[in-house]
């Protein structure tokens, strides 16, 4: 018997529709595809983090045998820019590079080796420019301007009451600056795919993304061809976590495929991926929080500086999200939040699971723990005293769907094994190892928020083969969306899994459903099926009634077909038979709607929220500074569970990704260049780094009258972990960590400075 303890209240195991193909590797990822006459593409990226391009000469590369095309900015027929919010990133730089991932040329050749060699033969003459490697330097008046409108990408703020006056009345004030690192998504499949020119003049883009239609829109703009000429096949993917939401290799593959008339495969190496790919925004967050003696928080002031890197992508939205969540689930009368997202010559920061919430929640929960210590009250109690009630407005004063999630998760975590097992708390494996426990909570908005185009939709039909075909414009990148669709369809329609065909991730075959981001997939599938199931069932039953003569009210949908109240062993009429009967007028229902938003006009303001509480127990080795998370528990309130294995996997996987964020991960840059270029120096958790005891509790009850169904859980499991671990470190050795990833040197230094004494007394 193996000594691990992984438990949860998530019961019921269903085989994933993509499961067998994944464990046997029959499943072809888009980077596994190959086509006849396929060429290999490579992208030449900038040598400098900031430089003028004086000249580019591709002559030597073009003459290399086996090279079929070299492209530079001159070869972009349409808009030489991309970007999800506004296009400011050059596909191929004309005269200036702003980060080491900037593309200056690309090559298609008969082999990957030749393409690689050709890149080295392209002569680019640069004139290096001063490098802005820090957002605070970028804000200095003397800083070079990286974009026409300066170095500020976006500013956002929220204010209520008067913090200055309120601080005067506070008995206790805590002020701290928190620093959060540049985290890499580290999806195991790096960016890649194949772009195929088709005989009919169209192109097919087989490349992972989190929003196929958006890729199609951006590519049409770049290639200057109608969207109808582009088919984007965007699923499956070997992980994304937000990182493949923006365009990556698609424009280069498409330009090269069109120029050569051949399929072009590009699959970035890990180094290329690190260099060019998005990261989580490094943020510096200063919070000043004041409370009365009784533990009522009276004022909360927040300043956020985000390093957005060279280009915009979703940077503005990430900052809006951070500002929105700066007071989290707490009701504070006086709040002032100011955020600024700043261009630098560092790698591009953008969309990443948690979307600005991780950074700001780390700071907020750090404040709660520091305040509780100052006030001398239990940190859980301080949170409870200031927690939102079900009918309270959202964190920026907006109307939200009433939810008791904050209180639910706090209550659940207070009943956790970890917080109720005193023996475990004190258990330590050596005198040099000190243990501690920390708890934190998080609130997280779903969907893109107010004022953002956030359409959703789906289609359900009875296809020619008699399968109930359910189509969404979503992508499967591991999160288990296929299972969610299948389980919901079985439940809402009444058929069996054998009756269903699911189609996703192919713009030629699916309706627009919006992006597979922002914890919206599960939620939108549920909403779509609620809208479509009635009309779809009605049409099937009417047809069945017409064919069999049995009245509609005695019929229902079941496995394999339509059953009557009297049918016992087989359906009265099968789906195949109905499909045959309706072949001239197939049954098909489509729906289009918008993700539910708050009625208040707050840019990006959310309406649906999920909640999590995390308890962590750590063991700190005071000789080496190594922190090990021994136990981790999370309780999550996100509505009904659709696919228990997937839900559990999201929370466990999110927890471990956040453990990496807390203790290990930083895509370190020096003077605009990556120091960590691969998994030898950028360390993500291995199986040896994880807690050997985890417990996940899903709270399924929605607030009375809530009609919005299940919320997605893709992000919420990543948010509360870092502050819980850091509080546990304080509990163990009396050190308040303000900077992630937690530095071993800092721990050893702190322990040495206090001659290993003070923490023994500060602990209680």
């Amino acid at each position: 018997m193996v000594n691990f303890s992984y438990s949860s209240n998530l019961q019921g195991s269903f085989e994933r529709p993509d499961g067998v193909d994944k464990v046997t590797a029959n499943l072809k990822f888009l980077t596994d595809l190959s086509f006849p006459n396929m060429l290999y593409g490579k992208i030449l990226r900038s040598v400098y983090p900031h430089a003028k391009i004086i000249s580019i000469s591709a002559k030597n590369a073009e003459e290399l045998p086996g090279v079929r095309a070299v492209i530079t900015s001159k070869d972009v027929p349409g808009l030489n820019r991309f970007g999800l919010i506004f296009p400011d990133q050059p596909v191929l730089c004309e005269d200036r590079v702003r980060y080491v991932g900037d593309a200056v040329a690309a090559v298609a050749a008969e082999t990957e080796e030749i393409a690689e060699k050709a890149l080295q033969l392209i002569e680019v003459e640069y004139e290096p420019l001063p490098v802005i490697d820090d957002p605070e330097k970028a804000l200095l008046p003397s800083a070079p301007q990286l974009h026409p409108d300066g170095n500020i990408l976006h500013q956002a703020s929220y204010q209520k009451g008067n913090v200055e006056e309120a601080f005067q009345t506070c008995d206790f004030i805590v002020e701290e600056t928190y620093e959060l690192p540049r985290q890499m998504h580290a999806y195991m499949e790096t960016e890649g795919g194949v772009i195929v020119p088709e005989k009919d003049g169209r192109i097919t883009v087989y490349a992972g993304t989190q929003h196929g239609y958006k890729d199609r829109f951006q590519l049409a703009r770049i290639l200057d061809i109608p969207e109808s000429k582009i088919r984007v096949v965007s699923s499956p993917m070997g992980g994304s976590f937000g990182g493949k939401d923006e365009l990556n290799i698609q424009p280069y593959g498409a330009l090269l495929a069109i120029k050569t008339g051949c399929p072009v495969k590009i699959h970035q190496s890990r180094r290329e991926s690190v260099r060019s790919g998005l990261k989580r925004h490094p943020m510096k967050i200063t919070m000043k929080t004041g409370a009365s003696r009784s533990g009522k928080i009276l004022a909360h002031q927040v300043r956020i500086i985000a390093d957005t890197g060279a280009y915009a992508t979703l940077g503005p939205a990430v900052l809006d999200f951070a500002v929105e969540h700066a007071a989290g689930p707490y009701i504070i009368r006086n709040v002032h939040v100011e955020g600024v997202s700043v261009y630098t010559n560092n790698g591009v920061a953008g969309e990443f699971r948690g979307f600005g919430g991780n950074q700001v929640t780390f700071a907020l929960e750090g404040q709660m723990d520091r305040l509780a210590a100052k006030l001398g009250i239990c940190p859980m109690e301080l949170r409870k005293r200031n927690l939102r009630k079900a009918d309270d407005p959202g964190p920026v004063g907006q109307e939200i769907a009433p939810t008791d999630g904050a209180a639910q998760v706090l209550k659940a975590i207070s009943q956790s094994l970890l917080l109720n097992n005193k023996e475990k708390r004190e258990e330590s494996t050596s005198q040099w190892k000190k243990t501690g426990i920390g708890v934190a909570i998080a609130m997280h908005g779903g969907g893109l928020g107010f004022g953002r185009l956030d359409p959703a939709g789906g289609r359900i039909s009875l296809n020619e083969e008699g399968k109930i075909e359910i189509s969404f414009g979503f992508e499967e990148f591991g999160q288990g969306l296929l299972s969610v669709i299948e389980q919901l369809a079985i439940k809402e329609i009444g058929c069996s899994s054998n009756d269903i065909k699911i189609t996703i991730g192919d713009t030629d075959c699916v309706p627009s459903s919006g992006s597979s981001t922002a914890s919206r997939g599960t939620s939108m599938v549920w909403h779509a099926l609620q809208r479509m199931k009635g009309p779809f069932k009605k049409r099937l039953l009417e047809k069945a009634s017409q064919c069999t003569g049995v009245p509609v009210d005695q019929l229902y949908l079941g496995p394999s077909g339509i059953w009557s109240c009297e049918s016992k062993t087989e359906p009265l009429i099968t789906y195949q038979q109905i499909a045959y009967e309706t072949k001239d007028d197939p049954i098909q229902i489509e729906t289009e709607f918008h993700f539910p938003t708050t009625p208040h006009s707050i840019p990006g303001g959310h309406y649906l929220y999920s909640f999590a509480a995390c308890a962590a127990r750590v063991e700190v080795d005071v000789l080496t500074g190594i922190v090990r998370v021994k136990n981790l528990e999370q309780s999550v309130a996100a509505g009904p569970v659709i696919y228990p294995t997937g839900y559990l996997g999201q929370i466990e996987g999110g927890s471990v990704m956040a453990l990496g964020y807390t203790l290990l991960e930083e895509a370190l840059m020096e003077k605009g260049k990556y120091v960590t270029e691969n998994f030898d120096s950028y360390l993500i958790p291995t199986i040896n780094d994880i807690p050997l005891s985890m417990n996940i509790t899903a709270i399924e009850d929605l607030y009375e009258g809530d009609e919005y169904g299940p919320r997605g859980v893709g992000e919420i499991g990543t948010v509360a972990v870092a502050p819980a671990i850091v509080k546990a470190i304080y509990d163990a050795i009396g050190l308040w960590v303000t900077k992630l990833p937690v530095s071993r040197e800092e721990i050893v230094k702190a322990v040495n400075q206090r001659e290993m004494k003070e923490w023994l007394t500060t602990k209680l």
Binding site: M1, V2, F4, Y6, S13, E15, R16, D18, G19, V20, D21, K22, V23, T24, A25, L27, K28, F29, D32, V47, E113, I114, K117, Q120, L121, V124, H185, A186, Y187, M188, E189, P236, M237, G238, G239, F241, S269, R270, G478, Q479, T645, G646, L648, G649, E652, G653, G654, S655, V656, M657, N678, F679, D680, P685, T686, I687, N688, I690, L692, M694
Partner: protein
């Protein structure tokens, strides 16, 4: 530019090929390949066995794990000449006669999400059980520490192994 002068000296990819023979998933293969071609590329490109994945290319992630003459190796670090006369087991060879118990356990316990590390991970679990019929906690952690999974947090993988050790 100085960079380009160095570049000009770089020779074109080696044209010389060597003949190797190896047994892949029980089938004998004779191939004419560059002596330094990576085993991962031989599998994926010469033999169209794309189940073996490539992710870091420096032997740190284990996505390309295969079993070579009974030992777990990163196929991105094995060159053609080193694979000559060797017997290779890839993910495609594991489930040839229906799902292997390891594959079943991964399916039932959520031992994967995106599926990209999965072939290498399952092969590493196979190597673990080949070595220890009833592995201890330390043996499991050691045996799988070379295989990165970014999705699951390893919970489902551990549950799958627990299931296998219990049966």
């Amino acid at each position: 530019m100085a960079d380009n002068k160095i570049v000009e000296k770089i020779k074109s990819p080696l044209e010389e090929k060597i003949k190797i023979s190896l047994v892949v998933n029980g089938q004998e293969k004779e191939l004419l390949v560059n002596a330094t071609m990576r085993l991962a590329d031989i599998l994926r490109e010469e033999l169209q066995l794309t189940g073996t994945k490539v992710s870091c290319e420096i032997g740190r992630c284990g996505a390309c794990s295969v079993i070579m003459d009974g030992k777990l190796v990163n196929s991105c670090l094995v060159r053609a000449y080193q694979a000559n006369q060797k017997e290779i087991l890839t993910i495609e060879g594991l489930g040839m006669n229906g799902l292997h118990p390891i594959q079943k356990a991964f399916l039932e316990e959520g031992g994967f999400q995106c599926g990209y590390c999965t072939p290498g991970m399952i092969i590493a679990v196979k190597a673990l059980f080949d070595q220890y019929a009833n592995p201890t906690k330390e043996q499991i952690l050691e045996g799988l520490s070379g295989n990165l999974c970014r999705c699951t947090g390893y919970g489902g993988i551990i549950r799958a192994i627990q299931k296998l050790t219990e049966s």
